[in-house]
């Protein structure tokens, strides 16, 4: 992989996390770690608990048992707002953009936590509010260039094709300059070209900004190509963890995907 980045220490530690909705066990005793600057994949058949795992990391769900430690701080009772302010950004499986707003405004909302001017300063548009707006606009323009979406800057997001919407959502997440970026099926529903573009962007983001990325993906080819290490879930349990080659040879993983004779 790229020589520029070097994988650092553990940034996120998931320890024995269990999550149940009533009687349905979504996750059972799942543990894994994510190291700084790496691209980590979570894979598994449908209903394996991948999205639940992401939602736990991001604070949408609170696990009944287990701990999550992010940048050395154990988290308890975290909500998505806390997650965002501690440096975790994400995209959603079903795209959660602000459909009526332009691409530019959508991405600017990603910088919300970076802007500090008070309500009154903004109401009368003085000093800090004005400067801040311009500074942040410049940052956002850089991201727009980076993801090659200059031409749709002013278009309301709801009018864009699916693949482009996914790219805008990535841009909004990047705008927050996150320490950890969670991507929930970034390539779902895309055609081959769009997938290739998205792969390139994910690798570029990782290489250029050193952003740690955790992604969920169904396309095995993609996962094996771009990820450093892979966690495999099945029925809410971890059944494999390691580099692509190890996962390929893991019998439990092969069984989970291909089925096994009983």
């Amino acid at each position: 992989m790229t020589a520029a980045r070097s994988i650092g220490g553990t940034i996120l530690e998931v320890d024995a996390v269990s999550l149940a909705f009533g009687g349905v066990k979504a996750l059972t005793e799942v543990s894994f770690d994510v190291r700084e600057h790496e691209i980590r994949a979570i894979i598994g058949p449908n209903g394996a608990g991948k999205s639940s795992m992401l939602n736990v990391i991001n604070g949408v769900y609170r696990p009944q048992r287990g701990t999550i430690t992010f940048r050395g701080v154990p988290r308890h009772g975290m909500n998505p707002y806390d997650a965002a302010s501690s440096g975790i950004a994400r995209t959603f499986q079903n795209i959660a953009l602000f459909k009526g707003m332009s691409v530019l405004d959508n991405i600017m909302t990603g910088r919300n936590l970076r802007m500090k001017a008070s309500f009154l300063e903004q109401a009368i548009w003085i000093g800090r509010a004005r400067r801040e707006e311009l500074d942040n606009r410049a940052r956002v323009e850089a991201i727009i260039d980076f993801l090659e979406i200059q031409h749709i800057r002013r278009t309301p997001v709801g009018r864009l094709a699916y693949g482009l919407q996914k790219r805008v959502e990535l841009a909004r997440a990047l705008a927050a300059e996150p320490a950890l970026l969670l991507l929930d099926e970034p390539m779902a529903g895309m055609n081959v070209e769009e997938k290739q573009d998205m792969c390139r962007f994910i690798l570029d983001v990782n290489a250029e900004f050193g952003t740690t990325i955790v992604l969920i993906e169904h396309d095995m080819g993609v996962v094996m190509d771009i990820c450093d290490r892979i966690v495999v879930l099945d029925y809410g349990r971890k059944i494999g963890d390691g580099a692509a080659d190890e996962i390929r040879g893991n019998q439990a993983v092969i069984d989970a995907y291909l089925g096994v004779a009983h």
């Binding site: 965002a84 953009l97 600017m108 909302t109 903004q122 707006e133």
Partner: protein, 297 residues
Amino acid sequence: MQFFFEVLIGGLLSGVMYSLVALGFVLIYKASGVFNFAQGTMVFFAALTFVGLTEHGLSFWMALPATLVVMVLLGLAIERAVLRPLVNQPQISLFMATIGLSFLLEGLAQIVWGTSVRGLDIGVADEPIGWIADRFGLNISKFDLVAALIAAVLVAALAFFFSRTRIGRALRAVADDHQAALAVGIPLQQIWGIVWAVAGAVALVAGLLWGARNGVQFALTFVALKALPVLMLGGLESVPGAIVGGLIIGASEKLAEVYLGPMVGGGIEGWFPYVLALVVLLFRPEGLFGEKIIRRV
């Protein structure tokens, strides 16, 4: 022709007053998806509080900030006590809650300040402006013109605030998708608090202008009914829509009254705006400036 322009301009200026009331609805609808039935009552509440304070000896410039503080606190209290407990409930529950709220506020205002009709003087006379009458031969009310200017400044400021600042963007983001807004780190409750406070302040401006024109009395709550066709016409979530909608309604109802009224025996000013709004709805269900409903199949 001169008469036509007089009617037109008079209509446009009173239309701005409708916009002002409609704006209060738009603000809250835009940020929280709640159609605030109590907006008309808030206008009444603001006017009555202002008049009540001046009757207790406060000067205009003392009563104004005092009432502003009351309205902002009222807005924050409504968000905190009525809407926050209802988060994630169906729209209709929130709407019903605001209906209840409007009765509560009506009663409360009249318990505190009494039910008698009062006059409200903001120091601008409702008389023709001399030099316009001399030069163009048009009778334009000074009061209408000042009221329209105040409303225009307020609308411009709010439109700018919505499109060019972090909080404005956050407001729109929250209105669009709560889950996504939380994930990018927008504090929902703070944003809602701000919206209600701003809506309270807008109600104050509308209350002063309408109170000065019609007198401060219970019927002031009905100005909200005038805002409904404006909202239908302009679109519920558009600040520019509220202003253009107000202008169209104001001008067309006055022109209709003067030119069509005699044919049907007069009195069409009251219902003409609704018919106009319904016709627009036939062609553009989201209103002239509402956010386009985009559906992907």
